[in-house]
């Protein structure tokens, strides 16, 4: 009887992992729509191509070597399907953990859940470099980021390994539940290093210091993308509880969903109000970024805050993201979709909010962890971007940029029949 209950737990926790992984996979559609909506129509096809391709590259590279780098285990996932002793091994683990203990689930489901997080981190970069980066340079970077840069940083955090053998973040009190730092800050850092080397879009910043607004072509798509991301985030944070099959875990999952949603709502309203206050009108794109900012801010710790705290944490994210977007523009760092602000600035915020409600983490640990992630990803990415810049060049020509990268990189217009 006990064996059957253990089998049920295994099945339920595996199922839960798979469904959450599928929800996070759906976030790829969210990113694609959000970015497609915020770029100009002449650059739509290229950014869509970038999004579908990076997702696939991430899945393949993580399968080939990334998962092995991050968690140990064999390259190319050999053996992940389990052998003849699959059931016996699973039951033995379950007996060890007990009913209320750690989650035991299928190894394949663990990979599936992890791989979609890699794709999310990589996807953050695509928006920041939009409208002027060469598609193939971006994809080449994606190969290295998803196969090596992110997995190594992941191995020091969720993987529990010492950072180059020097110190262990977990021991220092570093805690990042679903990845404000590990996923979002990492992605934003890779984006930042790329944008610095890439330069701003033509005409964005003038010599006299003025900044040109370049409106996105399709706000319905951008909004749809944001709502898709919001939905997918329930899997992103919810799945990171890692277990569903007992009362305490189920309750934790429920709180995580509740808080994740509350933070998004808080972030959106705060960003909308700040934008109204600063710019005089309701800027939809700031509101959308605000929702995502709230989601990123709560991602490092969505289970311990109260509902009110989660809403306020999200609101802090919403305020920060607007200020960050304006600030980066002043620094002449051109980010067409606000990715660096949403995922970087608010990723850091998310890390720093954790010790407020989670006693097991420390501010020192969060800062060291954040810095470790930032420095590693920035330096490693910078080297890769530099190498790509030297070998094939990062940026399309001025003429190609004016014509639109849809034509130069893809040979396809997103809306060829529209004459507008």
């Amino acid at each position: 009887m006990e064996e059957q209950i253990f089998q049920l737990q295994y099945a339920m926790d595996t199922f839960y992992f798979l469904v959450c992984g599928a929800l996070v996979m759906w976030m790829a559609a969210g990113f694609a729509m959000l970015e497609a909506g915020l770029v100009r129509s002449k650059n739509t096809t290229e950014i869509l191509t970038k999004n579908v391709a990076l997702f696939s590259v991430a899945c393949i590279m993580y399968l080939i070597c990334g998962y092995a780098v991050m968690y140990g285990g064999p390259v190319l996932l050999s053996g992940i399907e389990g052998g003849d002793s699959l059931v016996a091994d699973a039951l033995a683990s379950k007996v060890e953990e007990g009913f209320d203990g750690g989650s035991v689930y299928s190894g394949a489901s663990d990979f599936f859940f992890q791989v979609v997080f890699v794709a999310t981190a990589m996807s953050i970069v695509s928006g920041a470099v939009a409208e002027r980066m060469k598609l193939w340079a971006f994809l080449a970077f994606a190969v290295v980021m998803t196969g090596f840069i992110y997995p190594l940083e992941g191995s020091w955090t969720w993987g529990g390994n010492a950072v180059f053998g020097l110190y262990t973040l977990g021991d220092m009190g570093f805690s990042d539940f679903a990845g404000s730092g590990i996923v979002h800050l990492a992605g934003a850092t890779a984006a930042l290093s790329g944008v610095i080397l890439l330069g701003p879009r033509f005409g964005k910043y003038s010599a006299d210091g003025s900044i040109k607004g370049i409106p996105g072509a399709n706000l319905p798509l951008a909004t749809l993308g944001t709502f898709i991301l919001w939905l997918g985030w329930f899997g992103f944070n919810g799945g990171s509880v890692l277990k569903l099959s007992d009362v305490a875990s189920a309750n934790s999952v429920a709180m995580v969903f509740l808080n994740t949603n509350a933070a998004a709502a808080g972030g959106l309203v705060a960003a909308l109000l700040v934008a109204r206050f600063m710019f005089g009108k309701a800027d939809l794109t700031m509101a959308l970024n605000g929702a995502l900012a709230g989601l990123v801010a709560i991602t490092a710790e969505p289970s311990t805050p109260t509902a009110l705290q989660a809403t306020l944490f999200g609101a802090l994210g919403g305020v920060l993201v607007v200020l960050s977007i304006v600030g980066l523009d002043k620094l002449k760092i051109d980010d067409p979709v606000g990715a660096i602000s949403v995922h970087g600035s608010c990723g850091i915020l998310g890390l720093l909010l954790v010790p407020i409600t989670n006693d097991a983490s420390t501010f020192v640990g969060q800062i060291v962890g954040g810095l470790t992630i930032f420095v590693w990803v920035f330096v490693a990415s910078f080297i890769v971007w530099m190498a790509l810049k030297a070998i094939i060049g990062l940026r399309v020509s001025e003429e190609e940029e004016a014509e639109g990268v849809d034509v130069s990189e893809c040979g396809l217009e997103a809306y060829p029949e529209f004459t507008k």
């Binding site: 370049i214 409106p215 700031m286």
Partner: protein
């Protein structure tokens, strides 16, 4: 034969079309355009950065008519599209050298 081109405010399109039908104008071509005359644009903020909205959305109507319909056509469009506010638009009249109906091959006033 004349080609009457009118740039009008988009929400006046239906009124203009109805007015032209009433005087017997059968065919019409409509294009969405942007432009400005003495109605200047303005600046808006997008994510905190200014952008200029110089070109305002308008609708361009083109009708090919026989010479004897010209005055009625001009009156119809003017009355229908007028709001009294700045940006109402303009009408241009040009001579048509030739008109051909593609289906039948008719030319001249029979094709208008």
């Amino acid at each position: 034969m004349k080609l009457v081109t009118a740039i009008i405010k988009p929400f006046k399109l239906d009124d203009a079309r109805e007015a032209l039908s009433e005087i017997g104008v059968q065919g019409i071509t409509v294009t969405e355009v942007k432009g400005f005359g003495r109605q200047k644009g303005h600046t808006e903020l997008y994510r905190g950065a200014e952008y200029v909205v110089d070109f305002l959305p308008k609708v361009k109507i083109e009708v090919a008519i026989a010479d004897d319909l010209l005055d009625q056509t001009l009156e119809a469009i003017t009355k229908a599209a007028n709001t009294g506010k700045i940006g109402d638009g303009k009408i241009f009249v040009t001579d048509l050298l030739q008109v051909i109906r593609i289906r039948t091959g008719e030319t001249g006033e029979a094709a208008v």
